[in-house]
Symmetry: C2
Subunit: 633 residues, 2 copies
């Protein structure tokens, strides 16, 4: 079972085509300007300049974080997904120039990292914990694979293979011990293996996975080396579990530490487990996935609760206002989820995949394509954010760019490649995992899925094949041509030839509650329509939003909002607000709450903060019994 | 109108005598050992040694924070309150030795600060923002006044006056500009003025108050001096409002910045406003008090929400789990409240005074007198505290000592001096502000208040005088001999001679809610009995406490608990817990909450954490409608 790669898929979907076009037409050109340091009032980036310095084409000073190269690689990966669908010659040329520059920055032995080449050549591979050399190498490989799949040009692939071969010659059993402080290369080497079929890339990925947390911790050894200096001084106090190297990966019971590192590592583990059919590793992946999504994930699909170290904390610790929920971490959870599905085609993996994509990921990018969230809180009171230093990581408005700029290019690559995870094929089976308007042709099979509102038309030409339609969570699927669903899939046998099938897919609106152990969410409820989580914003509702009450039996009406140019509606219901009439100069009192009926307007969480700074809240306090006007309790 | 000083009052109260005796018999001897660095596994203190070094009696190395001297002064102040009531010769001698040591450490010109004398003599007065010289001077003066009032010995008073005279010769109009980075000396100079009647101490206090925030900020000027170095590097980024020096004090509208500094400054302001009858300053005190207690105070009387900078944040920002609510800040709020009452005898100032004393202050010290809270959270889940770095300031158990050891000696001095704020007298009026069993004789008037449970007997001998009994918040006072209450006071005319009056005072149990704008407390309620806030602990209740629901119409029964050796009962009621039966492997779901009836046990917040580490929670989610067994919603 394999996914139909993004490079083969043409998107034609009211919501997702717009996102794709926004990335291609606005985000990527804008990022190019940023990477060249040509955008005013944005965090400074000298990414391209650093490559020129490393290539001997500039005498400027290196500027930027040690992992800066990955920004360009992620940009190139995203651009490649665009090229696959629409070979814009201007963009094609630009890629070729960039690839020439990258090749020029590669050292004769294949080494490629502008920071260590320019700033600290003698420190190569001496600080795997913080140096991000293997991390950047991984993003180079992913970009190379994407560019090759899009253009069939091999230049960048050759660059990546040369570097991969160098790394393979250095690290491994009977060679030097090592594994990355920031995983990424594991899954990247496997992508490289899948296009090149070179076994050594697979085995190197396996080495990094299997060596991790075994025997003496190599990061401890590094710290003890003479002349060791921290690149990130705060890391001095981080323990092995922060780097997921506290135990052999097969023995890890809970997800710990830096959220992006964890998601990337587990994604590589899932790939390797599938390709080697390793039961213990499969078991570990399932256990860690389970812990992530059923104990440590926000309802928006965000992961990593704590700002300090951008990390996972402990089961059920999911504060809304101080949430970190980094955009990159949720992208990592999408990668992990789709890979888990390949291991075990349970539909629930895609319930999470869609939950993450439709909410935390989509919220990461502003509607203008030029502003981004790194941190994705579930509750914001602007004056509190600006006054309480504990919330200094929270931004109430999307930012132009970041000193650590991992998120924007990561959003660009996932939004241009997510279609590469929605169809899966093997000899006689076609899985449609997410109902996104799109089409592809592969191995004599042509498939086209389009929808008009809730009405979907699936055209299949070729086959024969069994078609499995995944029932998305919180939706109703009705299709006479399909049998009864089994394990969350509707299926039919396509006998061959060209046929059209139709079905309707209706999102359901429901109220969600959290597990009773989630301390921050006791007594609270949130609104979900299909996979979309909704929130309230100050612009639509009386503030303070904390005074709003949502009745347990709320009935919602759907409306179109002009500012929200999506096929997503806003929702309205009659709820209540607690009157502050008798609270003048009081902070605590025994007086009964007086509830006033009030229309409450909900918008998709993914679109909050697009109308200026204001309050936002996902979880509202539930009002259990329906009340009469001015009811007191 | 003046308070009857603590030195004249004999406590005889089931709750407060025990606290007093615990401080005298356990806390103070224990602290003496600590100050001498003789306690194992406690944060190291070399306070006494530092004085010996400054006195030329030791060649050891200075050790400890720049404000370390204040620990000894606060200890000495507390010991003095004990001496006033019971002239223990051994303690008396120890004080005399300590005072000899302090005098020996004083420099010929009157200067007294071990850090600057030993470590940085050339830096005297060069860093008022961080140096704490004026702060330590203030605590010396308070100790000197207390010791003089207790023993009539003048040696320490002379030491304090010599230092005050030096400071007066340096700072002031037409002299050097200055004011303390950490207020305290203002209120201390006024205490010194009140025992010595030397006007210059009053006017120096006034200078520090009036100069603050006027013209160019002197802390800014200090930062710009050549050779300026930060003592606390983090302060580099703190703005003027952190030090309450952003505006002239009369123009400050909201309480800002470091909570202890603010409370001490405002206390001094209230004293100075009263003594000078300055309308603008009185107005400012009332405004800042109002903002503190009606917008930024925890229900436990804690103030200062944010760990970073131990500071106030913004109106209604009162998170329970990350609360800072430093013990010292709440002590400062008691000082501020009692001084506001002298300005304007409204009974509500004492509602706050008692709310703070009975809850945040009492919680600061463990029942063994050897463990203390610096931070007083309102909600603790131990595994979350240990895993989420954002909560690293929270301790789930009281600590032996602290690197910054301001709180334990401050608790000792307030618990031995609080009786000095409960009686106020002038020519023909006696105010009884807090109903604490005690007696005093002053100016031919003998007053004795005792109680047996809810029955109080007031004996007055002398007079004539009008007696005003304050009605405590959330209590019922019944007394036939008293007229109808007016403005919260019951009163009677004592015609003279010896007479006994009796009344009953019953605490009421009620549920409190917070202002609808308090985002962290939406939908929550807490239990208050009299002035005592209650909480639930894991030891008495099924965890997770987040699953508990408290019905709006809960009825409570009072019980005696063996472990709780106070005249405070524990409370029990029938509430609910949300079943987690159907939540296996689920984190979010639309299923209705299933409520199971459950007995909930509440204990006084002040006594949490005395039975080992476990969950604690003050605010429970309110269940609006009373439910039947297994009711679903």
């Amino acid at each position: 079972m394999k996914f139909v790669p993004a490079s083969c898929i043409k998107l034609d979907d009211p919501l997702w085509s717009k996102q794709f076009d926004l990335v291609r037409n606005v985000v990527l050109p804008h990022m190019w300007e940023i990477l060249n340091g040509r955008v005013e009032n944005a965090e400074k980036s000298r990414c391209i300049e650093n490559f020129k310095i490393a290539a001997g084409l500039s005498n400027a000073q290196y500027y930027g974080p040690v992992f800066g190269d990955s920004d360009l690689y992620k940009w190139l990966e995203a651009v490649s997904y665009c090229l696959a669908l629409d070979n814009d010659p201007r963009l094609n040329d630009l890629c070729d120039q960039v690839i020439d520059l990258i090749e020029a920055a590669q050292q004769p032995d294949g080494y490629l990292n502008t920071y260590f080449t320019v700033v600290a050549p003698e420190k190569r591979w001496t600080n795997l914990m913080e140096g991000h050399e293997l991390y950047c190498a991984g993003h180079l490989m992913e970009a190379a694979v994407a560019h090759y799949q899009a253009t069939r040009k091999v230049k960048l692939l050759d660059v990546a293979c040369r570097f991969a071969d160098l790394i393979h010659s250095i690290f491994g059993t009977d060679k030097r011990r090592g594994y990355p402080g920031h995983p990424e290369i594991e899954l990247a080497l496997i992508r490289l293996y899948e296009v090149t079929c070179k076994e050594r890339y697979l085995s190197l990925a396996g080495y990094f996975i299997n060596e991790r947390g075994v025997g003496k911790n190599i990061f401890e050894e590094e710290r003890q080396q003479d002349g060791h200096a921290y690149i990130f001084p705060e890391m001095e106090h981080f323990k092995a579990d922060y780097f997921q190297s506290h135990l052999p990966v097969r023995e890890q019971l809970r997800v710990t530490g830096h959220a992006v590192r964890a998601m990337y590592l587990f994604s590589g583990m899932a790939d390797f487990a599938r390709l080697t059919n390793d039961p213990a590793l499969i078991e570990a992946c399932k256990r860690l996935y389970e812990n992530t999504v059923s104990r440590q994930m926000y309802v928006t699909g965000g992961v990593g609760s704590a700002c300090s170290g951008e990390r996972f904390t402990v089961d059920f610790d999911l504060p809304s206002d101080s949430a970190y929920a980094e955009s990159c971490a949720s992208i990592g959870l999408m990668l992990f989820s789709s890979r888990m599905w390949l291991l075990d085609p349970r539909k629930s993996y895609y319930d999470v995949w869609e939950q993450v994509l439709h909410n935390n990921v989509l919220s990461g990018m502003g509607r203008d394509g030029k502003h981004f969230f790194y941190v994705n809180p579930l509750e914001v009171v602007p004056q509190t954010v600006s006054s309480n230093p504990m919330l200094s990581h929270v931004k109430t408005q999307r930012q132009k760019w970041f000193g650590v700029a991992c998120c924007p290019p990561n959003l660009a690559r996932i939004l241009t490649s997510m279609c590469g995870y929605i169809y899966a094929l093997d000899n006689d089976r076609l899985y449609i995992l997410s109902h996104i308007g799109s089409s592809f042709e592969q191995g004599g099979l042509y498939v086209k899925l389009c929808h008009d509102g809730d009405t979907y038309t699936l055209m299949v030409d070729g086959g024969p094949t069994d078609v499995f339609l995944r029932l998305p969570e919180n939706s109703e699927l009705i299709g006479d041509q399909f049998g009864n669903p089994s394990n969350g899939y509707f299926s039919l046998h396509h006998a061959g030839g060209k046929r059209q099938y139709s079905y309707s897919l209706k999102p359901v609106i429901r109220l969600l509650r959290a597990h009773p152990s989630v301390s921050a969410l006791t007594g609270k409820t949130c609104v979900q329509r299909g996979q979309t989580i909704y929130c309230v914003e100050g612009s639509d509702n009386e503030v303070p939003l904390s005074a709003l009450r949502l009745p347990v039996d709320a009935v919602f009406t759907e409306e179109k909002a002009d500012w929200l140019q999506e096929d997503l509606p806003i929702l309205k219901t009659t709820g209540y607000s607690v009157s502050d009439l008798n609270w003048e100069k009081k902070l605590y009192d025994s007086q009964p709450c007086v509830y006033e009926p009030r229309e409450i307007t909900f918008i998709p969480y993914s679109h909050w903060g697009n109308r200026g700074e204001n309050e936002m809240r996902v979880w509202l306090t539930e009002k259990q019994a329906k009340s009469n006007i001015q009811e007191s309790e």
